[in-house]
């Protein structure tokens, strides 16, 4: 594997130019019709379907040698699949990489939107497993395509309303559906619903790639994105009712870490870059360590 990926063996950013053109055209159509899933002829990548092949193809079609790439999985730069994808692009595109959200021009992500606000000039690429928000209500593509065409989203509202009837709340905690520019219902990928508000009016370009399902969709900057809800049950972006035990942040999405066999647990930021930069700035949580000490 290592040897065959040496420079020259494959094209810049792995994909051949015709494939990139095909993906680029799909991305532009996605931008033109925000929230609509554009079919594209997804290629077999040297990593398994379901492991980010859609995101990787979108990133490969966007990358230039001047980019700085950040790859996160579950908000973290050091999870194994993030490491693997980052390494793939270092090898095939010799691109600069970073863990700092603000320094990245392209961020490929799985399951999170970074905590630090994004800016113009950045592109956020989401890995998407099931792009069709209606898929779990109607398994047939031929049917869901018709439902999008006719703006027939009643089924989704019925599902959300049944949740309320049973649980008193909408019981969708992640991949919470949104409506884009008042037209298409869209799956924001399995981000926690805590992240949903960040989808709207975002200065960065947001691109979504689903390799196995052969779909690309997009949100241009500053697009109107509304999480589906009801007047009497408004959407609520929730998280664990704790502060980060390392950096003390009260505004970030938290991972729960089990620390012993006796029910001990701690909460830490899922966004590792956000947590680290707060710690470096001197913030400290319940179990945090002062910076000088940590450096020793």
């Amino acid at each position: 594997m290592t040897d065959t990926l040496e420079a020259g063996a494959y094209n810049f950013a792995y994909l051949d130019e015709q494939t990139k053109r095909m993906i680029r055209r799909a991305i532009l159509k996605g931008i033109a019709v925000p929230g609509y899933q554009v079919p594209f002829a997804s290629r077999e990548m040297p990593m398994p379907y379901g492991w980010g092949t859609g995101g990787v193809q979108v990133t490969a079609a966007c990358l230039t040698p001047d980019d700085t790439l950040k790859v996160i999985d579950q908000g973290a730069d050091d999870t194994t699949n993030a490491v693997s994808i980052r390494k793939f692009f270092q090898r095939t595109a010799a691109v600069a990489v970073t863990e700092a959200t603000a320094e990245a021009s392209i961020i490929q992500t799985r399951h999170r939107i970074p905590e630090a606000p994004l800016s113009e000039g950045q592109i956020l690429v989401y890995q998407v497993p099931i792009p069709e928000p209606l898929r779990f209500l109607e398994p047939r593509e031929t049917e869901t395509r018709k439902m999008h065409e006719l703006e027939e989203y009643g089924l989704m509202h019925v599902k959300l309303y049944e949740d309320i009837a049973r649980h008193g709340h909408i019981a969708t905690a992640y991949a919470y559906p949104v409506k884009v520019e008042g037209r298409y219902v869209m799956d924001p990928s399995p981000i926690p619903r805590f992240d949903n508000p960040k989808l709207a009016a975002c200065p960065a370009i947001q691109l979504f790639g689903a390799g196995r399902e052969q779909r690309i969709y997009a949100l241009p900057p500053y697009t109107a994105v509304v999480s589906l809800d009801f007047d009497d049950h408004p959407f609520e972006a929730s998280k664990a009712p704790h502060d980060c035990d390392l950096c003390g942040a009260s505004d970030s999405y938290l991972d729960e870490v089990i620390t012993d066999d006796a029910g001990g647990r701690m909460f830490v930021c899922s966004d590792t870059d956000y947590c680290r930069s707060r710690c470096e700035a001197g913030h400290m949580g319940r179990l945090g360590v002062p910076q000088q000490e940590a450096a020793e």
């Binding site: 094209n11 810049f12 950013a13 130019e17 015709q18 990139k20 053109r21 095909m22 680029r24 055209r25 799909a26 991305i27 532009l28 159509k29 996605g30 931008i31 033109a32 019709v33 925000p34 609509y36 554009v38 079919p39 079609a61 966007c62 990358l63 230039t64 040698p65 001047d66 113009e120 592109i123 395509r145 018709k146 999008h148 065409e149 520019e181 037209r183 298409y184 009016a201 200065p203 370009i205 949100l219 241009p220 900057p221 500053y222 697009t223 109107a224």
Partner: protein, 189 residues
Amino acid sequence: MTLDALLGGFTETPLQSAQAFRAALEALSRPGQIETVTGATPPAPLSVAAGVLVLTLCDPTTPVHLAGAHDCAALRDWITFHTGAPLVGATAAQFAIGTWAALAPVNRFAIGQPDYPDRSATLIVEMEHLAAHGARLSGPGIKTTAQLSLPETAAFAANRALFPLGFDTFLTSGACLAGLPRSTRVETL
């Protein structure tokens, strides 16, 4: 085919087309924003920017329509040699290139199907000038409002009314390009 047809393409395709695509992506994602591109030196009357778009987006799978003065032997040969795109009439085109006057009436172009709105044409409109003033734009990609020197507003407003169907547009002048997706609302100031 003359020797000229063989010249004026990208010299480092992977890198130049990547940079050009990013410019096109930014332009279409932020209507009103004008991008500058380089890398193509197509025969007249095609502008550098339109030439870059053609090299970046067109290939044997994308039928291209050349309108008016752009439908000349030099350009036909250049596009055929560098992209392999079939040259077709307006209704079959995935990309259509010409001045606004030559492209009219624009309701000839594909606007997609209700179940596949992506199957629509992209117009590359060659302009004398391109500037960030003129018609007022709002919609996806625009924080509040933006302005762009559109050739007219009525046709674009009519196109917006078809949303999610409609054609998408790049405006080109010299090395400059701007984007106007079908989602943009257009008003005369």
